[in-house]
Symmetry: C2
Subunit: 422 residues, 2 copies
Amino acid sequence: MNNFTLFGDICYNTTERTLATATGAYLVCLDGKSAGVFDFLPEQYKHLPVIDCRGQLILPGLVDLHVHAPQYSYRSLGMDLELIDWLTLHTFPEEARFEDLAYAKLAYEQFIADIRRGPNTRSVVFATRHVPGTVLLMDLLEDSGLITMVGKVNMDRHAPAPLVEHDAATSLADTRAWLREVTGRYKRTSPILTPRFIPSCSDALMEGLGEIQQELSLPVQSHLSENQGEITWVESLRPHTMSYGHAYHAHGLFGGDVPTVMAHCVWPSEDEFSLIKKQKIWVAHCPQSNINLASGIAPVRRYLEAGVPVGLGSDVAGGAHTSIFRAMSDAIGVSKLYWRLMDQTAAPLTLAEAFYLGTLGGGSFFGQVGGFAAGFEFDAIVVDDREIPGKHNLTIPERLARVVHLSDERQIKRKFVRGVEI
Amino acid sequence: MNNFTLFGDICYNTTERTLATATGAYLVCLDGKSAGVFDFLPEQYKHLPVIDCRGQLILPGLVDLHVHAPQYSYRSLGMDLELIDWLTLHTFPEEARFEDLAYAKLAYEQFIADIRRGPNTRSVVFATRHVPGTVLLMDLLEDSGLITMVGKVNMDRHAPAPLVEHDAATSLADTRAWLREVTGRYKRTSPILTPRFIPSCSDALMEGLGEIQQELSLPVQSHLSENQGEITWVESLRPHTMSYGHAYHAHGLFGGDVPTVMAHCVWPSEDEFSLIKKQKIWVAHCPQSNINLASGIAPVRRYLEAGVPVGLGSDVAGGAHTSIFRAMSDAIGVSKLYWRLMDQTAAPLTLAEAFYLGTLGGGSFFGQVGGFAAGFEFDAIVVDDREIPGKHNLTIPERLARVVHLSDERQIKRKFVRGVEI
């Protein structure tokens, strides 16, 4: 059934700041896309089957712009460390195990089961450097019904032997082999180029990835200016580059015609900020990870005011929770601390803005995704907020606040991705 | 059954920084107190019934040092406001409704049901100004099996008419009537003097409460230096008082021989900090509330280094979540931001320290509570951390980290308060 109508209480962003709400209204799905929201069902849709979700909230599926699938198994561990030590002591040893496909299958199945239960419908995903493991993850994600972009990770330096790739040539050959294997293989799953971050990638590797990008027009994901120690390291590795961001840009891997999402962007220099803006980089704001790894607070208000597209990332396992509702709640929280402690001109995020980040903001990386205006891809979740104890005679924005801050996967009753229920 | 043995994997703090752990060990309960933790069960306890919780974690019950029972119903609402506006627009109108006992019963039952499901075993609770409603809350809490201190709130100025008390004399007469009604009435529930905060209490009221304290040797709870606007207001109300804390102290309601817990303590002046230390005030650190109301981050490391007793508060509905596991997780998080953004000499809280705050630290306000050394009151929870997806071949501190950051009430399998299972 790909054509149908959902009936319930509907809420979605029309702009960064504005929520559209409709109580007891119809959301029509035709061929995987929204045909719009209607208070009264137009004649031409009256023949469609109606899924009755009265009293429940119908919201866009949430979008996770930054998550590491192999890190799911050790969420919450090693959280007394900062970025580089945490990578060395926890992340790299664990990721090395994904050479073993049996291990990878068990771990990836747990990760996917968690996301399926929750509110997210789309994710941009880091795998590991291993080609078979990455293909396996993509096969499993395709079967899950979720829509994802997945990257085989590139890293040819500064990681321990079992994980680091032999050299740039090997990394690039593996990348080409992976791309041959997955291109055209899926309906819902697509590859994204994934240099881990500048400290992990030699100039030769970055150069080669830039060439692959040019040939195949792939999108790009990586990390940027997350932690002050990391930034100092990048400066020492590339002393003649204007900023961390310019190191990606030098190889054609930083926006412009190349859809690019950069995680964190906590400490942009002025030069880097200008480049992010000029190149229309998607910023994946990962508030929980930035707390857990003591990275800081990203200047989200500045990015929004500059017109930079911003979405949210769980950044598991820097973050412990996959749900982008939690990321919305944390994004509001850290924006209040940023305002109070760092810059009283940077107004805290409103609920509508945080909901925007986790729907339309991140969704735009996938196209017309994250809203219900006619023509948008039909990603929707049905949330029974009546299960949350407390007041119930509330407006839709108040109900949304309770869902964002208090719900868990038990309240997600139905989930549709591009018109298909999963 | 008040004498028994729990068998499982045991973890508790012996000091602020130190966790004691025992895998496959016995925790003995005699007459509501711990007789100690044993790797092998001593002969004299072998006749006791054994409750087999193998593979699960046995932890001290958690202590919430600051929570507002009447605010539970509107958790997460109005979170775009700061303290004083939030009180005016949300808190005061809602609390006024607790004049109606039928309304109060419904609301308080929801609050108590939530806490019973979760990991907390003890709480220090604000009710409202209403005597019948406060007695009702205490009756319901007594029946719940939880151990609590509950305060009828005093507030004779600067609140809207339905909530503010007529004058100091009325407030004091009501307080005495309430105390006559509840004294000696309960086994698990006791009264605590509760001036709301200095802006709500005239000097005459504070004076009278000081006299009641002297007569009846009651403990005291209130709020202190939560928000910068609030502090400025207190300065204007009491221009001749050295600090906000000194305003309580002037009436004998600030520690010393008077067990006193003050919520928040985010912005202590040097004079106030010294007084907190000298008077051995319990600080109820409420990280989530301090985020939600954009108050700031309390200098917890400074308090710990000064030997000030610190516990955790959910501060519902400034905080949205009743679980003190969530407060531990948030306390670690904000301590990292404090270190990164405000003071790089204030080391972030470790997991052991956060667990201390939510068990022994807050528990000490109730006496020998929050640990399992022989003689401690027997508050224990059994947590099945195997239900949390991810790695399972872990040390007990690693398992505790997963419980603190990732568990919810579904993993709380059994709960004992002073030796009684609830």
